[in-house]
């Protein structure tokens, strides 16, 4: 338990914060991107910005699967579920994400058979229990989640369950990082690398960021001290004129990742030539689709999918926020038309979305302070 207790030690946090202030060079501006939505959530929750010198800016990355999904995909999934024989299943995170004609939950209220599942395996079980229905699983997630969908599809094939299919929206993190680095309006010095995605893919896939782009990347845990320590490691690299992949989250992330998970993904999925990301446009080879051997379980091949591109509500500036060009509060709708209770854009739905995180911690805090309440 010793090192566990240390994590709760405010002294360690203060020390890390002082170390950061010592390592940051005066007169320099630093921009670090935390790729993962879980980190964004933690940074707001713990008010880590207050522990960093003003010269360090944390830019929120695209690692929130609900947030990066373009509205057209939600519409497509719901279009399939208009078929009265189809049961639409998805994780709870998806249920409040707005489509053009409302969220999955709103469609449920209008009579569509929409159900929350907590595991893709449960969607498959639902198909077994309802042989006269077709169960579609609306799959989202990065490499943390994709192996579980893959294994579920392998089971469906083994068991010959044919009234089940997956509407696959799984995305991959590396092409998104590449797109961000290629983006002309984005200047970044280093990355705080995703924790649980790396449990699956390991640390190797990030090596090009260090080798070719000369940017440090440190895979980080989710506690305040993990994130601060990762920033210490990034600054130490920069001061030494180095750029390498380091693993701060060794207690959970093996350097090699999970071979079995990668095998399951390779068996079931192949890369799409391109896929649209909200706010980032089309990114080549950035998402997964089912291989031909699984065509029977691919919702997009079994059903007519409109495939219409839908632009986001005009006033909402989700794209700019997603790319880190705008801060959440700079969006015209933030806190007015768009709030966690009535989200206009997906970034306000998921707790990992930067708008929801900002609203829940910074915005509420500021509102309470203005009322004179102790916070």
């Amino acid at each position: 338990m010793k090192f566990v207790d240390e994590f709760r030690d405010a002294g360690v946090i203060t020390k890390a914060s002082e170390e950061i202030a010592r390592l940051a060079k005066p007169g320099r501006e630093y921009r670090f991107m935390e790729v993962c939505g879980g980190h964004t959530h933690a940074i707001y929750r713990f008010g880590l910005k207050d522990l960093l010198p003003a010269c360090i800016e944390l830019v929120h990355g695209p690692g929130c699967p609900v947030c990066v999904l373009p509205m057209g995909r939600i519409d497509d999934g719901l279009a399939i579920a208009q078929n009265p024989d189809v049961i639409f299943t998805a994780f709870g995170d998806m249920m409040r994400v707005p489509g053009t004609h409302g969220s999955p939950l709103e469609h449920k209220a209008r009579g569509m058979d929409v159900r929350i599942v907590y595991s893709p395996a449960d969607a498959l079980k639902l198909a077994q229990k309802n042989p006269d229905k077709h169960v579609m699983f609306f799959a989202i997630g990065f490499e943390t989640t994709a192996p579980s969908t893959a294994l579920t599809l392998m089971r469906a094939k083994q068991l010959g369950i044919t009234n089940f299919s997956v509407f696959c929206n799984h995305v991959t993190i590396i092409p998104a990082i590449r797109a961000i680095l290629d983006s002309p309006d984005m200047r970044l010095d280093a990355f705080i690398g995703p924790g649980h995605v790396s449990t699956v893919i390991g640390c190797r896939p990030y090596e090009w960021i260090a080798a070719k782009e000369s940017k440090p990347i440190v895979i980080s845990g989710f506690e305040p001290v993990d994130i601060l320590q990762s920033i210490v490691m990034i600054l130490a690299q920069m001061n030494a004129g180095e750029a390498k992949v380091e693993n701060q989250y060794k207690r959970v992330v093996p350097w090699e990742g999970s071979r079995a998970a990668l095998r399951a993904m390779a068996e079931v999925f192949e890369l799409r030539p391109y896929f649209e990301w909200r706010g980032m446009g089309f990114i080549s080879q950035s998402a997964l689709r089912l291989r031909d051997g699984y065509a029977q379980w691919d919702s997009e091949q079994r059903f007519q999918v409109p495939g219409v591109r839908v632009t986001d509500p005009k006033a909402a500036q989700c794209g700019e926020v997603l790319k880190g060009v705008l801060k959440p509060a700079q969006c015209k709708l933030f806190g007015n038309e768009c709030s966690p209770e009535h989200p206009v854009g997906a970034l306000m739905v998921s707790s990992e979305g930067s708008c929801a995180a900002y609203y829940n911690y910074e915005h509420r805090k500021a509102a309470l302070t203005s009322l004179g309440a102790p916070v």
């Binding site: 994590f7 959530h41 159900r115 907590y118 579980s148 294994l151 989710f222």
Partner: protein
């Protein structure tokens, strides 16, 4: 979305493909251990679970530490909701 929840393996079912009974804070649910085929867990082992699948084996100390992380992040409720939701749909 990327919650990783520590769980203890309570029972394995040798006749059923990679099914395991796990316990999380007193709640028992079935999960799939198929992603750990290279190093299958034993009864009493700790694993990190995500959407009903075991992602990796961890030590008891790491499990305790991960529970603390969830507490710190204020995500224990979401984690328990996920675990309690395994095996059903709503």
């Amino acid at each position: 979305m990327c919650l990783a929840i520590p769980a203890k393996i309570v029972e394995l079912f040798p006749n059923e493909d990679s099914r395991a009974l796990v316990e999380v804070a007193g709640v028992r649910r079935h999960i799939d251990t198929g992603l750990l085929v290279d190093d299958p867990p034993q009864t009493g082992d700790w694993v990190l679970i995500h959407v009903g699948f075991a992602l990796s084996k961890i030590s008891e100390e790491q499990a305790r530490e991960q529970i603390q992380t969830l507490v710190l992040l204020g995500e224990t409720e979401a984690a328990m909701q996920e675990v309690e939701g395994y095996g059903q749909e709503t």
